[in-house]
Symmetry: C2
Subunit: 317 residues, 2 copies
């Protein structure tokens, strides 16, 4: 039996999985992300943890294919990160350092791209090779898989779905400095923003007014939507139009078999997909109308799964 | 010395190149595309022509790496075309048929994707692995290269840059049935359309009025632009905004090192790039501002070069 590790480095915790290369999860656990001192302990902590687990499971290092790592930053083809504010890293040769620490083969990718790979391998996109994953959380992240491999890009900044411009008339700025980014409409904060703008327009009676304007959240909107609230429907339609149209554009270039919707916002469930898919179909190029929309299945495990897959695929090439 | 063939199948002629695998063109020629009888003679004609050339150059079949073919249709990963109106083909197993006809290894790709690969290998994008090529002709075609390989997509319809929606307010329809496609603004016909719309707005004096409204073409616009005509500048600015913004969106997902502009419209030269690049920079995500804009270098040879590269790369994997 062959094994590998999938590591998902976050700002608070590092999630780690020990996998058989057939996709079976043998063990998973977390360690703390020690961000102090520019995050210098992060990789040594992970290496130490992997070593302990190998001993615990009585697995020889020779039976380990390697270590895949997802990090919250652009990662170039050499496994180098230039800056990761979430972890405290500046310039960091993650792949080389981790190889030296573990003596194992290491592959590194951006966490959102890696999560998409996870959903392709063991989640909603199982069996597919062309897939888009959109993660609707505080922001909008994502990964685009083409022929089984994530789009990394020349500087490692590929897959920034949240910064597709979907509204050239927008006057408010996105966190990135531009105006009209998908993230301004489809993230949890974006949906809450759409709701506040809509609610400020008039004072018609609706379920969303049960809380104050400041307290309105994406959850408030989708809860009201499930109760059939008309204003929540308007907001969901607006959200669905921005996201659906953005996906139609992306599909014209990548022709995906499936688009997987994940992240906190996706907990609203199937009702969400309807709004996205309807608007997608309205705008999709005729050759892309076959694309299916699915909810993500792996939740927080997408990262460790995709990281493991990254190193398994590398070993095959 | 190792050799390979690059074949670019068009509706009127088939362009063919005999290459050394280092990129040297040994010979290039054309044969007629016989579209009659559902294009059934097209592949046998090509096979016959390759055989003659091998004999003429006294090259053994064992020294040939294979045959790459670009066709004007979506092509899936198995080298199957479902429909190519330009050639008369319906369902066609191009790869299998050509392998049987030649006894050589065959790779097949969409012509626009293949042309992008050609510019990457021997043209403006030499040395790069992440590149977008936009072909501004009667329509807008293109190819997106990620880590050295064209995006093909689940059904072979990847890289349809011309059908990115860039204007959600558009009321006129594109040939594809949608509204607001890039092709409606950035193709030769699209630029002429922008010009006619602009000229119909008022009757101010400008160089474009030297010809009748029906005769205004992309060339009229760019010729007037070079003379400093203000109305031509307005139209070029509008063209540049649509194309530059579309490229900024595409770059957010693919993070290209270079964007290559080719096709008939690109004969207007460097002046064109300025309008595109300015608008690109205005909208690009901060991590994609490094992308360079270049004019295509290979002209009509991009297809045969890229087709040859397709089969060389396949042999390496």
């Amino acid at each position: 039996m062959r094994y590998c590790f999938g590591v998902d480095v976050g700002g608070t915790t590092v999630k780690i999985g020990l996998f058989q290369t057939d996709g079976t999860i043998v063990d998973k656990w977390e360690i703390k992300t020690r961000r102090e001192d520019s995050g210098s302990a992060v990789l040594p902590d992970i290496a130490e943890s992997l070593k302990e687990k190998l001993a615990g499971h009585q697995i020889e290092r020779d039976d380990v294919e390697g270590v895949g790592i997802g990090v919250p930053a652009p990662v170039n083809a050499e496994g180098i990160v230039r800056n990761s504010a979430n972890i405290g890293w500046g310039y960091k040769e993650v792949k080389r350092e981790m190889q030296e620490l573990t003596g194992l083969s290491v592959e590194v990718g951006n966490d959102a791209n890696v999560a998409a790979l996870g959903e392709m391998w063991l989640g909603a996109g199982k069996g597919q090779k062309d897939l888009i994953m959109v993660t609707l959380g505080t922001g909008v992240g994502g990964g685009v898989i083409v022929d089984g491999r994530p789009i990394v890009g020349s500087g490692g900044a590929g897959g920034e779905i949240g910064h597709l411009c979907v509204n050239y008339e927008e006057e408010d700025r996105c966190g990135c400095g531009n105006r009209g980014c998908l993230e301004q409409y489809a993230s949890a904060t974006g949906i809450a923003r759409l709701a506040r703008i809509r609610l400020a327009k008039n004072d018609d009676d609706c379920a969303l007014r049960k809380v104050s304007l400041e307290e309105v959240s994406a959850k408030t909107v989708f809860d009201a939507l499930k109760e059939g609230d008309k204003v929540a429907e308007e907001i969901a339609e607006e959200f669905g139009a921005y996201l659906g149209h953005a996906m139609a554009n992306l599909a014209a270039v990548t022709d995906p078999a499936v688009i997987v919707i994940g992240g906190g916002v996706s907990k609203a469930g199937e009702i969400l997909l309807g709004y996205i898919e309807k608007n997608y179909q309205e705008r999709a190029f005729f050759a892309n109308k076959h694309t299916k929309f699915l909810l993500a299945e792996l939740g927080n495990d997408a990262g460790i799964c995709g990281a493991a897959k990254l190193v398994i695929d590398k070993a095959k090439r």
